[in-house]
Amino acid sequence: MMRVSRLTLVLASTTLVLGACRKKPVVAPQTEAPPAVAQQPTRPANTTPAARDTMEEYRTKLAATRARLLETIYFEYDADELRDDAKSNLDSKLSVLNANPAVKIRIAGHCDERGSDEYNIALGRRRSEAAKRYLTDRGIDASRIETASFGRERPAVQGTSEEAWSRNRRDEFEIIAGGDQLRAQ
């Protein structure tokens, strides 16, 4: 389920890039892509093979950048401390956010089904705040990050195994502004 949704995100972001190129060529100068490439979808016949390769590369890079920014981070049971893998994930989000000052994100904390349902709303809130604090402590303006909690109410994966629980103890990331101006890294 997680894999599917992430794939959907990648596809969606690719579609967004294509859409942006097609409908708003003015966006192109703000990207690192050469102007000729931005017009590629409307006049594919005129595009050289080299330019098409560059476009493909750029699209791939942009999708990867977006995926990095949106990648879910995970927590231990009943904990809001950031794990080492979550910290390195946030470090790479940090560079994306630094390179894209117009981008604003929302972080939503989630819990597994264990523990008190109502306390889990508070725990999810702390998980989102932990990620936000990591980013703001490293220079990201707090106004660029919203936080929320869904407690255990919106599991990513159904099931009562540790495998399912570990996929549900998470922070999800969402771009709430500036996504159409995202620059690939």
Partner: protein
């Protein structure tokens, strides 16, 4: 203190002595529920007048006579079941009743071990007459005609019949029963209501969770975690109207509690400063902060019966425990600590309507059980020992508790009698949780 009842019990309790009785009750509780030894210190003569019979290990035996006429079977079945669910009586099956024409043959009922005969009669007016016979006195102890709304078997008719059960129970025990109550709960992202005998499972709100009852059962306060404004809502069960009590963007409002006078709602507010308790007038107005957690969480408030204090859970010490404070947040005391290890987990407190006990969930060996703590001497008692159990809520009799449990597989609501340990399943089907037992319902 145990009182003698007008209902004769001489056959069983001629040599009743309170001290021995207390010890016996304690032993019964300990054996029945694997309670810690502290339970013995906490046991008290339960109930009002029937405590003497629990001591003897024998409850008052009742039989409900067959009822003639259309829906007569439903009348005797409902009354029998309500008496059974009260956990205060032994029920002798209606089908084994000797034929009664005119005065009952009390000697025959005595041979069946019956103490009391409940004799309902459906009247041509649609009312029901109920006579209670005391077998040992060979006399009618009480008789009354009760109105029943039509049509028969409708939810209103069933509610009235539960009211009859509760009245008869009061004749016998001195305490009104809890058959005429309902339980609100959370299922599939909305609030539902079920009658105490698990009939009439009905959706009550379009969305939401964590319901709490308004005075007299007239409405519900609940929370909605929609990811937008996450409001505290109120619904009037008579009109179905919905009203927003607290709501703002980027904030989680959750876990509401209604004060006993119905004028104040306390809820948890989650923001970038943590999750803290706030109080607001139910008619609307500014919210007042109660706890200052500085990033730690306080949630799950429950009012004392006098409305002056609240119990709630907080992880301010590093792990979840139950605390008590005044309504303004001062005079905080840690309620659950002494008896437990450091890294364990207590949550979901609910203050009993009689003010004596707080029920809560406690993680023991990885799984949650429902426990009670006596506010006078801090003694604790297990009331569950099977499966994972969460979110206790007291019945108005301060004796039964509804909670969610995984003991049958999917999480469902169960009811336990804290005095005998007897439990029964209340809901079936998809997951049910976060429940609240209604107060006594205002006249139907």
């Amino acid at each position: 203190m145990p009182q003698t009842t007008s209902f004769s019990v001489s056959r069983r309790v001629t040599r009743f002595r309170p001290v021995a009785a207390t010890m016996l009750v304690a032993m019964m509780l300990t054996v029945g529920m694997a309670a810690p030894s502290r339970a013995a210190a906490q046991a008290q003569p339960p109930g009002v007048s029937l405590s003497t019979r629990y001591v003897a290990g024998q409850k008052t035996s009742l039989i409900v006579l067959p009822v003639k006429g259309a829906n007569g079977d439903s009348v005797s079945t409902m009354l029998s079941r309500d008496f059974d669910y009260s956990d205060r009586f032994n029920l002798v099956s209606t089908s084994s009743a000797p034929v009664v024409n005119g005065p009952p043959n009390y000697a025959l009922f005595s041979k069946l071990g019956v103490d009391g005969i409940v004799q309902p009669t459906l009247l041509p007016s649609g009312w029901v007459r109920v006579a209670l016979h005391d077998v040992s006195k060979k006399a009618v102890l009480n008789s009354k005609d009760f109105p029943l709304p039509s049509p028969a078997l409708s939810p209103a008719w069933r509610s009235a019949m539960h009211g009859v059960s509760d009245a008869v129970e009061e004749w016998i025990t001195g305490q009104r029963g809890i058959a005429q109550t309902r339980i609100a709960f959370t299922r599939g992202g909305r609030v539902w209501i079920v009658d105490s005998d698990r009939a009439n499972v009905t959706p009550a709100t379009p969305s939401g969770m964590s319901p709490q009852w308004l005075l007299g059962g007239r409405g519900l306060v609940y929370s909605v975690l929609d990811g937008v404004r996450n409001p505290i809502m109120m619904t009037d069960l008579g009109t179905g109207s919905q009203r927003t009590l607290a709501s703002s963007s980027g904030i989680e409002h959750s876990s509401p509690a209604v004060s006993p006078d119905g004028r104040t709602v306390v809820y948890a507010r989650g923001s970038d400063t943590g999750t803290d308790l706030y109080a607001m007038p139910i008619e609307g107005g500014a919210s007042r902060r109660i706890t200052v957690g500085r990033g730690r969480a306080s949630t799950q408030p429950t009012f004392s019966p006098d409305g002056q204090r609240i119990a709630f859970m907080s992880d301010r010490s590093g792990h979840p425990e139950v605390y008590i404070s005044d309504l303004d947040g001062t005079n905080v005391e840690l309620l659950t600590a002494a008896a437990f290890g450091d890294r364990d987990y207590r949550a979901g407190p609910d203050w009993s309507p009689d003010g004596r006990l707080v029920a809560f969930q406690s993680r023991n060996g990885g799984t949650f059980q429902i426990m009670t703590i006596n506010l006078r001497d801090q003694s604790v008692k297990f009331v569950t020992n099977d499966g994972r159990n969460d979110d206790p809520s007291w019945a108005p009799d301060s004796r039964h508790i509804v909670f969610s449990s995984t003991r049958s597989g999917t999480r469902q609501l169960w009811i336990v009698d804290t005095e005998t340990g007897r439990s029964r399943q209340l809901t079936f089907g998809s997951e049910a949780r976060l429940s609240a037992w209604s107060p006594r319902l205002l006249s139907q």
